[in-house]
Symmetry: C2
Subunit: 354 residues, 2 copies
């Protein structure tokens, strides 16, 4: 495996509605310094592939409306590596587009597909898992999913059921997938984690470009034929115009549903590198450094008095003083202030829309 | 009495520390649209004297650092009517300065002195009380204080004890003052309001310019001599420079202590025109329109859910969503967000300083 063949595809088209008001459709959470560390989630995602994928092999697939933000946040990327979807069609068309694009450039490419808005605490272990998976993908026709060892009966994630009895002969950390399971209810989730062969579906995938292109041809030919028919214009001046015309014809479908649940030779790499999809304010609190009273305080100047178990987040030069709160989200961003009990955070999307 | 002789003096040098973060030393509350009505407290103060004092007779005494704000908020005022104190010396030097200034212009002037940051609900009754007091002051040497009929045993105000047995023969609404009382403790305040002859000291005074100038000469000659010695430069190019040199020599003393507590012929006009000094966030809540759950919501777009007894205040285009709070101040202004129990609001000054 040559590092020059390693490509990274970052899907950065989400709108992060559960993180309102920090995340807005105009400026969703992948473009925000959520952790208050000076780097946005998108930048952190690129950062953790340093040494694994060369910069010229990093691809961002996003909405046309986020082009300027991506350019600003990743100035080191070739501008032609930013692929713009004219409309939202879920992950399958997004991955197909970039796969055919990469295939034209390098038919031997190995690809990691990653969300843009997750966090990883143990970047070294993450790098080891990714490199190992890329090595496997370069030598096989495997579709590899990264399965996160679950720590709680989470109902917000899909699960991957592994056949732990028969690891791959080439890589003893990779196991065949028995089934993919949709987000379960609490009872089912508890059953899953009582066993040891269920893993959270992280949305991180590794494969060879031929493998995924062939899988589309077999399992989702309507999408495959759209991009097959665009091979001539890929990488030319006509690419964007043709994409704008043809991309909307794709069905709205996830790669999980279109490919993973149907294909053979699907493997899961059970891993543990401090992953979170940062889906909610509560998960940000859990994944942030907290003070002795359980407060996660992210912002340049936050003072708390008689306050505990709160998630307080602000960007910019805002000063915040909070007295006497327990178990609240306080978020001040994008011209909006939100104060809401953490236990009610599932209502935030509704608040943002009213 | 001619309306041309009526002068209004507005003391606008306060820093409003209890209303932080809406009120800051750089932009204190008299310059803020506290009520969310489109007019600042200073503008509302000027507004309610329309028809009583001509615009050219309105004087603002304030700190030099607020000159630009006053100009912007009261563009109709002659710029020479904005008097600038080079330092804070409490109310006696402030009132002395403007009194000598007015005396040079019009020795027959009648003067109302008013704070800049109070509110009045019943402006018609206010106008009647002020006009009646001005008429009395124009014909006598009386020093008139407006006494507010107390509605609760407030410990944050000074009280005026009236001799209700003997009203003035010229004006049956005016009564001699028996004594001024400093801010009482709760027990004492309860005793005061159990009687009917104790009134809150509103800080609104009415007198003839000769009366107050003579009172300074008699009771506070050190201040009188400073301004007496400046009569030549008053209203000339040299006024500000001389004030900058001489004003700091004045003792730091309130007009209550320097004059009112010593002088004879002090009268109180017991009045009831929906007055509040808006001293605290709690008093703003009490003086604002509230929803059926007791929330005072001042701002362009505030949505509340399961929230009661809160004072929520923001200026500008900020959107605010609050869920699940009871009895809190939420104020977002001047780059600062404050969330604090109303019951703890006496700590706000401390929060602002830390």
């Amino acid at each position: 495996m040559s590092i020059k063949d390693n490509h990274l595809v970052i899907m950065a088209g989400g709108i992060g509605s559960r993180f309102w008001p920090m995340s807005t459709p105009q400026h969703p959470k992948q473009f925000v310094d959520v952790l208050g560390c000076g780097r946005t989630l998108l930048q952190l995602t690129v950062d953790r592939f340093k040494g694994i994928c060369p910069t010229e092999n990093v691809w961002i697939v996003t909405s046309a409306s986020y082009f300027d933000i991506v350019r600003e946040q990743l100035p080191e990327l070739p501008v032609s590596n930013i692929l713009l979807e004219p409309c939202r069609r879920n992950t399958a068309p997004c991955i197909a587009y970039v796969s055919w694009r990469i295939k034209k450039l390098n038919p031997k490419a190995n690809i990691v597909v990653s969300p843009s808005d997750h966090i990883v605490m143990n970047v070294a272990e993450f790098g080891r898992v990714i490199s190992s998976s890329l090595g496997f993908a370069s030598e096989t026709d495997a579709i590899i999913t990264l399965g996160m060892k679950p720590t709680r009966p989470e109902t917000g994630y899909g699960y991957i059921q592994a056949n732990l009895g028969t690891s791959s002969a080439r890589n003893v950390e990779l196991f065949p997938v028995d089934s993919f399971r949709e987000k379960p209810d609490l009872e089912t989730a508890k059953k899953y984690i009582a066993q040891n062969n269920f893993f959270w579906n992280s949305g991180i995938f590794v494969w060879n470009v031929s493998t995924i292109v062939n899988a589309f041809r077999v399992y989702e030919p309507s999408i495959a034929s759209i991009f097959e028919g665009m091979m001539d214009v890929m990488g030319t001046d006509k690419e964007q115009q043709t994409i704008n015309e043809k991309f909307p014809e794709c069905p709205n479908i996830s790669v999980d549903y279109a490919i993973l649940e149907k294909a053979d030779e699907i493997f899961v790499f059970p891993a543990d590198f401090g992953w979170s999809d940062l889906g909610t304010w509560g998960s940000l609190r859990e994944n942030s450094q907290r003070d002795e009273f359980g407060n996660a305080l992210i912002g340049p100047r936050i003072d708390v008095y008689e306050t505990q178990n709160c998630m307080i987040h602000t960007v910019g030069e805002k000063r915040v003083v909070v007295q006497g709160l327990d178990g609240y989200i306080v978020a001040e961003e994008n011209g909006t202030l939100l104060i809401c009990k953490l236990s009610e955070e599932q209502r935030i999307k509704q608040f943002s829309e009213e």
